[in-house]
Every structure is written in C-alpha cells, then in structure tokens.
C-alpha cells in the first residue's frame, strides 16, 4: 500500500542571505490509489513539494512517509517511486526500447523480465511497433508516452508527474489527459501530479491540493474546491473565468455593496453581524439576464449594468459589465467593485455599451471575510429554508 504522508514539511532556501520559504509547514495525507493534483500559480511551492517527495530536495524540517516507511532522507532510488518530468528527458542516442528499459538495466534486472515489462508498458501507452525508433523520429505526444512507459516499467508504489503535458499543444494535451485517466484506472497506483493548469487538475484528479506561497490552501475533491472554496485565493484560482469579487458591508438585513444591496438575514449566518466587512463572490455562470429571472431558483432583485466588453467563445459569450453609473475606477481595487463578468448564451443579442438588468442566483453566492479571506457561507438558501430570510429581494441603488 502506497499511502504518502507529509508531516510539517518545510523547505527554506538561502537566496544570497535572504531566507526564502518555498514550502511552509505542509501536512498532507494521500491514500493508496489516489490521483492528487498540486495546483497553484508559479512559485507557490508545488514543484518543491513534489521534489521533497521524490528525494530531489531534502526538506529543512518535517517528515515524509511512503507506505509505512519514513523516507525523508533516503535517496530517490530507495523510495519506490518513478517520476515523469516536464522536459521529458529521453536519451537522444538510445532507441525507445533502451529508453524505457534504462531504469531496469541500471538495477540489473534479468533480460527476460526487462522484455516482459517493456512489452507490457508499451502496450499500456500504445507504443507497439515503435520500440526501435529514435526519440527524434517521434512526436511530442509519443515522446511523452515513452517517458510514461519508462516510469511504468519500474512498477513503482507512487508515480510523480511534474507538469508532463506543459510542452504539448492544446489538442494533444486533451488527448494525453484522457490517456492518463485510463492509465490511472489500469494501474491503480497513487499518482501525484503537479500542474499550474486548473482545468487539467479539475479533470484528472480525485482531490486537488491548492497551494499558494508555500502553504496548503485547500485539499478536496475538484467540485468541492469549485463549489465550496475555503478562502478567497481558492475561489479566485479555481474556475475559468475567475469568480467575481465585490466588497461590501453587512447591514441589519442585507449586504450593502457600492452599486447594489443583496438582502439576507445576517443573524442566520454564523460568524457575521451587522457592520462586518465581507467580500461577495459570485461565479460568471451564476449571473443571469433579468428576463430569465423566473427561471432562476432564488433570484436577487434586478441589478442595473452596462455591457462594456463582449468576448464570444463559441458556446458562450463572456460579458464584462460595468455596474452603477457605467464608469470604472482607475484604482484596481475599486475597479473590481464596479465590474461584473457574466456568461451569456451565444445567441444573445446583447451589444457593447447596451444597458442590461441582471440577477444573481443567491443559492450560489459566496461570502468571505474581507480581513482574513476565509469563507463564511457558500449558499444563502439553507437559512431561508429555516424561514429567516424568505423571499428577500435585491434592491438596486439605481
């Protein structure tokens, strides 16, 4: 059983006298057979965390366990892991067979065992008939499959993959994504995958570990991260396009924002009271044109806005709306309060500079503490179901 545990793992670097903390007190418990994605922006510590598991970097503090063994200071070869790198790193002077069998030959496996494993691995990644080819004669996707086969033949307890699809074109990336899912089903091995692409993380993993500034922000199944983000960072990072954030103040019976009020009963939400500063989070797909108000499960009142920019994407249009008087502030922080991004039907006849009324689905409204960024509530409906804020309306300031 290859359960992977990180206990209080910290990695600090000395950058010409400055101490940089790449990984800060990381605690993780990954079950056998799980597909975990480390996701976060550049420099968030995801690759360093993986390198500490791989043994390429020794943590400054903390322990790493693979299975029941503590492996913190063991060399990579003694950890029972195989890794697929972003740069693929095939030996250019070796053919596919030699590249795949390199690790086994290094460990002096008998020839018939090497043949058996190479045959099985090439079968899994569909490289039959290509074993005598040189890397230069193969496409990017085929080369990446060779690198994956090289990891498979080792029959490791844990697979580590460091952005293996980053150098592939968009079409090939989607194809390889399904191949990796098939591979995971077939091998039933723990896979730890690093990516900065949240779409890749959402589609591949059983659980996503969202990292920022070396700290674990949330580790949950993809839809939990999407629907119930623990904090503002996760809410903004997961989902494309990003969630809208609007600063507001809680009053006796509503959330007051610079351009509209959202009525609810603050007393029914644990952790907030009148006067608190909160951030309203709403995803573009939870904002609807006013004419669809009757079809929205729990609509807010009408919010007046003006279409600023329209981005046709084919299956939908992203509409950037300006709230209030239709002017946006040059101040970045203020500007986010004046803007709303919504996703509309591609057949919509909305045009730029046109006025529009929109409603928000209050069942999918998120409230965050403005000071700490921690989530307070992800759905106002349960409180209404208790009969505390039934039928509340949003009153536009306009």
């Amino acid at each position: 059983m290859a359960r992977v545990r990180l206990e209080h793992v910290t990695k600090r670097y000395d950058d010409q006298g400055d101490i940089v903390t790449a990984v800060d007190d990381m605690n993780l418990d990954i079950d056998h057979g799980e597909f975990i994605c480390f996701v976060g922006p550049s420099g968030c510590g995801k690759s360093t965390t993986m390198e500490t598991i791989a043994g390429l970097t020794i943590p400054t503090e903390g322990e790493i366990y693979i299975g029941d063994r503590e492996v913190t200071n063991l060399p990579p070869k003694d950890r029972g892991i195989a890794m697929v790198f972003q740069n693929i790193a095939l030996f250019p002077h070796m053919d596919v067979y030699d590249n795949i069998s390199f690790g086994l030959r290094l460990r002096d496996y008998p020839q018939d065992e090497i043949d058996r494993r190479v045959e099985r691995a090439s079968d899994i990644v569909q490289l039959d008939g290509m074993l005598s080819r040189m890397p230069e004669e193969m496409s990017g996707g085929q080369r990446q499959r060779v690198a994956i086969a090289r990891a498979i033949v080792r029959e490791p307890d844990v697979f580590l993959m460091d952005e293996p699809l980053a150098n592939l074109d968009a079409k090939l990336k989607v194809h390889m994504r399904t191949e990796l899912q098939r591979l995971h089903k077939e091998l039933d091995t723990t896979i730890i995958y690093v990516t900065h692409d949240q779409e890749e993380a959402m589609t591949l993993s059983d659980r996503i570990a969202v990292l920022d500034s070396g700290q674990l922000q949330q580790i949950d199944p993809p839809l939990t991260c999407y629907n119930e983000p623990d904090n503002l960072f996760v809410a903004g990072f997961i989902g494309s396009p990003s969630m809208n954030f609007i600063e507001g103040t809680v009053t006796e019976n509503a959330l007051e924002t610079p351009n509209f009020d959202l009525e609810f009963n603050p007393a029914s939400v644990e952790g907030i009271s009148a006067g608190d500063k909160v951030t309203l989070g709403v995803r573009p797909e939870d904002i609807y044109p006013g004419e669809l108000r009757d079809e929205v499960p729990d609509p807010s009142g009408m919010i007046q806005a003006k279409a600023d920019i329209l981005e046709p994407m084919g299956d939908e249009i992203f509409a950037y709306l300006l709230l209030g008087d239709g002017e946006t502030s040059m101040d970045q922080e203020m500007a986010t309060n004046d803007q709303l991004l919504m996703s509309i039907d591609p057949d919509s006849d909305l045009e730029e500079e046109e006025s529009i009324s929109v409603v928000i689905d209050r069942r999918n409204v998120h409230l965050f503490d403005s000071a700490t960024g921690e989530a307070i509530v992800h759905d106002l409906i349960p409180y209404e179901a208790e009969g505390t804020a039934s039928g509340s309306e949003v009153e536009s300031d306009d």
């Binding site: 043994g55 390429l56 060399p75 070869k77 892991i81 790193a89 690790g103 090289r150």
Partner: protein, 61 residues
Amino acid sequence: MLYWSGMLVLFFFWSYGIVSFILDLKNKIIPGLIQYRRGRRREKAKQEQEEEREEREKQLY
C-alpha cells in the same frame, strides 16, 4: 641645473610607475585574481550540484 632638472623628471616618472603598479596590484590585479578563482569555485560547485541533481533524477527513470 640641467643635471638636477633631468634627474627630477626621471625620478618622478620612475616613482610614478612604481606607485601606479602597486595601486594596480592592490585594486585591480589581486581582486581580479580572487574574483576569477571565486568564479571558478562557484562554477565548479554549480556543476557538481547539477551533476548530483542529474544523478538523482536518473534514479527516478
């Protein structure tokens, strides 16, 4: 008079050369050598680190 003036000019340039050489030695030649050796050491350490990293990566193939 001519003899003393000639000696003064010659002595001036002779002493100027010696002082200039000592200052060059102190400010340019010795620091240059130290920097060169430090650079070589840094390069070597970097190369060793890269080789060690490569060796560790190969253990993961």
